[in-house]
Structures are given as C-alpha cells and as structure tokens.
Point group: C2
C-alpha cells in the first residue's frame, strides 16, 4: 500500500510508491518504452493489462478481448490503490495517510500509434466520454475528494509508454494546486460577484489576439500569463464548474476542439512532448459560481529549472499573442 506524507510547511502531499527496493544506479536504465511487438496497450494483448473497468467496444465482443476502440484499465503500477479504508495519522511533527485512491489508464485505440493525429475523431470522442463516465462513477466513492485527468506525451513529459493513452488519478484529499486555484477564483468572485474565467473569456473574445479557435460552446486560447510557449487552454463558453456535468453534444464539440488543438501543436512543433491536465471542481463541492472547468495544454519545449522551482515564476520566450497567431493560422 503506498504511503502519503505531507510537507508540514507547504501542505503538499507526496505519494511514496515503492514497487521494489531500488538502488540509485537503477534509475538510469528505467522506463524503456516497449516496442510495438510487445506493447501491452495494443489490441490482442488485453491479457497483459489488469482487467478492464470500462470499454467502448464492438457490439457482442467480450470484455478483455479484441474489438475495442477505448479501454480503461487500472494502472499496473498504481500510485494509489482503491482497496482499504482511509487511515490518517500523525507521525511526530508530520502527517501521513495510506494511499487510498484510484489510478486508471485510458487506452486510445488498439493500434500502436503515438501521435494524437493518428487517433480517429470518433475514438477520441469515446475516450473523452470515458473520462466523464469514470469521473461520474468514482464520484460515488465517498473516500475520494478529487480526480485528475491528464495526458503525458513524450519521454520528457513523463510518458513511459508511447502508445496513445491518458490517465486518471483520484485522491483522498483535494490536491494543493486545485485548492489554490479554487481559492484564487473565490477571492475574485467575492470581490466582483463574477466568475474570473467568464470575465477572461469575455475579454479575450473582445480582444481576439489570444484566441486560437472559437467553436461557440468552447474556446481555445493562449492565456495572458502563459507559463510555456504555445500553452493553450480550452474552456466552455458557458459557466460550468464540473467537467463531468457536460452533456453529450457539448462533450463532442469539446473533444473535437481538443483534438484539433493537439494536431495544431503536433504540426507546429513536431513531436513535441506535452502534458494536458483537466482543471475541474472537487467531488465534494456542488456546482459553484466561482470556478469554471477547463483543460490546460502545456508543451514542454522549455525546461523548468531552479528558478521556476524556487519561485513559482516562469520564464517564457514567446508571447501568447504570437503563440495564438501561429496556432490559429496553422502555418509551420
């Protein structure tokens, strides 16, 4: 069972996931991407993953057999585990708890491919629906406070397997980054009685200079204080605090826009490593007026070094106006 420990000053939690005792020299040779002939995510190798939790598959095909387009399985080396009661305890001047939670993998397509542009739009829509279904299901588990959906693409962005996939990690506490974002949005709401993201959208649609694509119900933009070159956010135009309350038709518009933006990044930057992360309200909150769910896409073309770690400042060599112009036009 993984152990969670809390830094007493900042309140950030660390998950100690000790699969096996490792000596320092072991780190260098780690995380070899399995080749196509041995990839556990490929169709036909279903037995190499834990059993599926959810799948979109050909009618009549049996679970854990071929015939699927999207499969959701538990991570083979989970950061957190779904079994057991939550147990919080003190440890001298510190706090710890056991690693209750969920760690799931969304495999997007059975074909061995590592570029999102090779995922059919329909399959991607099904993957995004799977995100929502898993959120709705995990939300029923009262031990869980939050679920984070994210995608790592490329070694430098933390991917150890290149076959297209996303992940979900559900945690027994609201993560500190989420808490800080919720608090910031709440402060703005208390001052102005308006959602800061709604205000931002209105401003950006007026200014136009940072809009990457506008699909009516969803907007893709380069945020004013982008940390990274070509950082792009996608937000629903209407105020909605929780991703999982998005209805089917809107979800499809969102999926298509997300896929379009990823394809733009892939075309513009080559096989750039990147992460995307869903930002949504905690399970424990009902619909809230101050927070607005969205996705943040972070290309990893610059390095985060000592200055970023120590300050929380970022140094970005590209203005978001230039990023947006570039991505909106799609030239390269």
């Amino acid at each position: 069972m993984p152990e969670l420990r809390r830094d007493p000053v900042t309140g950030r939690w660390v998950i100690f996931a000790i699969e096996r005792a490792r000596r320092p020299a072991d780190f260098a040779s780690e995380e070899i991407d399995p080749p196509a002939g041995n990839c556990p995510f490929c169709e036909g190798r279903e037995a190499q993953t834990p059993p599926e939790i959810y799948a979109s598959r050909r009618q009549g095909s049996a679970p854990n057999s071929q015939g699927w387009r999207v499969r959701v399985v538990s991570n083979k080396f989970p950061a957190l585990r779904i079994e057991g009661e939550l147990d919080k305890a003190g440890d001298g001047p510190y706090d710890r708890m056991n690693g209750v939670g969920a760690h799931e993998v969304f495999i997007e397509g059975g074909e061995h491919a590592s570029t999102v542009t090779s995922i059919p739009a329909d399959t991607f829509r099904e993957a995004v629906r799977a995100y929502r279904e898993r959120m709705v299901d995990l939300k029923k588990d009262r031990r869980l406070a939050y679920a984070l959906i994210f995608k790592n693409v490329g070694r430098r962005a933390g991917a150890s397997i290149s076959h297209n996939h996303s992940q979900l990690i559900a945690t027994p506490v609201v993560p500190i980054v989420v808490k800080q974002e919720m608090e910031g949005a709440k402060r703005y709401f208390e001052l102005r009685e308006r959602c800061i993201y709604c205000d931002m959208l209105r401003h950006e649609r007026g200014a136009k200079s940072r809009i990457v694509a506008d699909r009516g119900s969803f907007v893709a933009l380069s945020p004013y204080a982008s940390r990274f070159p070509f950082e792009t956010w996608i937000l629903p135009s209407k105020h909605v605090s929780h991703f999982e309350s998005t209805p089917d038709a809107e979800l499809d518009t969102f999926s298509d826009l997300l896929l379009t933006v990823l394809a733009k990044l892939e075309r513009a930057l080559g096989n750039v490593p990147y992460n995307y992360v869903f930002h949504t309200s905690p399970f424990v909150d009902g619909p809230v007026e101050h927070y607005h769910w969205h996705v943040e896409i972070m290309p990893r073309v610059t390095m985060t070094a000592g200055f970023e770690w120590g300050s929380g400042f970022y140094i970005n060599p590209v203005l978001p106006e230039d990023s947006a112009k570039f991505l909106a036009n799609g030239s390269h």
Copy 2:
C-alpha cells in the same frame, strides 16, 4: 525590457523574455553547450561575458582579466534587467509590470569543468561568500523584494552551459512559492509559537533515520515528504531567517557541507542532473521568528508529468529513510 504578467487566478508571475522573434522550429536546435575551446566562462575569455560585478581574484590582477577563482557577471540574456523604474499597470482584467530586477551568474573556477567534485573546496567557499555579498548589495536596492540563488546542473535540470556556475535572480515582488512557504511557516508559528524548521530539526536529530550528515552548526537531511529520490535539505541548526546574515565561519561550514552532499550525489547517481535552490526570507522582512533559511537540493531522476503539474502531488519511488541511509554511508 522583459514584461511580467500575472495569472489572475493563482497569482503566479511569468517573465516574458523575448530576445528575438522565434518560430516554433527554432526550439529544437537551441541551447547547445559551447565546447571547452569556446566556453565564455573559462579563464582567458573574460571579454566574452558582461563585465564582472564581483570577483575573488589573485591580488593585483585587474578586473575582467585572468587570475580569478570566482567571477560574478550579469547574465548575457537576462530574465530581468537592473535599469529603469518599476512600472506596474493593469491590462484589461489582468496585471503586468516591467521586468526590473537582476540576473547574475556566479562562475565557479576558471577551468572548464562540469562536476562540483572538480571545484576546490576553497573556491566553493568563495562562491558561497559571493552569494552572500551579492545578496547584501542587492538588498540595498529598494525596488527589489527578493533574490533567489540557484544552481542548475545538467541539460535535464535546465543548464545550457556546463561549466560550473550558479545564478541569482532578484525580483521586484516576493515570488509566490516563497510567499506560500512563509505563510505555511507563519501558521505553524501562530499555533505553537515555535519555528517549524527548528521543531523538524529537533525531531530529525532524535529520530536519526533521515540525517545525511550533521556538522554541528549545519545539518543535511532527507525531508520527511521528499518530492524526489535523494532530495536533500541543508539547514542551519540555530534559528536564522536570512541567509545573508550568516557570519564567515559558519558560512564556511555550510559551504563544505553543501559541497560534501553534492559530491555524495555525484558519486551515488553518476552525473545526475539536479537543481539546488536557496530558501530565505524576503529582503523586505526584518529577522522573523517563523522562517528558517535553508537550501533544497533536488536530483532530477524522476520526471514531473501531468499529475504533478495539475495536483502539486509528487510521486516518489524512494523513501527518505532509504535515501538518507544511502547518502550517509556513501556506498554505491
């Protein structure tokens, strides 16, 4: 002049340092480490850097000539610039300011070397004294709120030049990471009327399991909630809120311990990329009871991916007790 922009939700600042217009394809070919024959940090190539601000050099040798052991120069591509008045302004719903600050480079030894173990202990002591002298000097500038001292080693930790060096960036606002740490320490102090770091030191010296080295006036330890394998902090045993108030004799003990720990990491992990970052109280604060300066050393053997970015959680495969045992013994 670089432009600073503030994210309206989280309050984090981003420095837009646009040296030149860059197209996306330019990012791939960047940051080639100059070879020994063309390194601007080597002795004899003083003309290739901006003029020196501070140096420890052979008696009688002229500034910007040979004969130095440590040189401090402005960064050739500074994230922030020392010239001009601070100008803060609104920008629609956002906030921005101009990039007033300082960005300095500490060159540690004139010989082309990229391992700290190749820096003589005396030279490293002089570099650490240079950190302090630059802090003391910059603190007089009322436009500056904070100075962050850090070292990036290895490409993956953000270093673009391999010749041994550290950096200092002084900012016109207190960085958000520092502010959050100060607030966390203050909350603890308000509750208990004790410094959390003093409490931590007392506990760790009693428990012993996470101590890497104890030199009396300074302690190196693996923190309880280490984010990274072999993460190590060095703290003064006595409560001191500001690094720059450390007297000479103690500073030398600190330098020697820092060099020892870096050498242990180099031996244990090979040429591992790492960062170290000084955590100290803002210029604007007088001595405070709740904050305790220290250095955090972060080896970059694991990747930070979507989960870490979105949550502020970290996943660490090595317990600090194991890291400490390993580093304390120095085996490999």
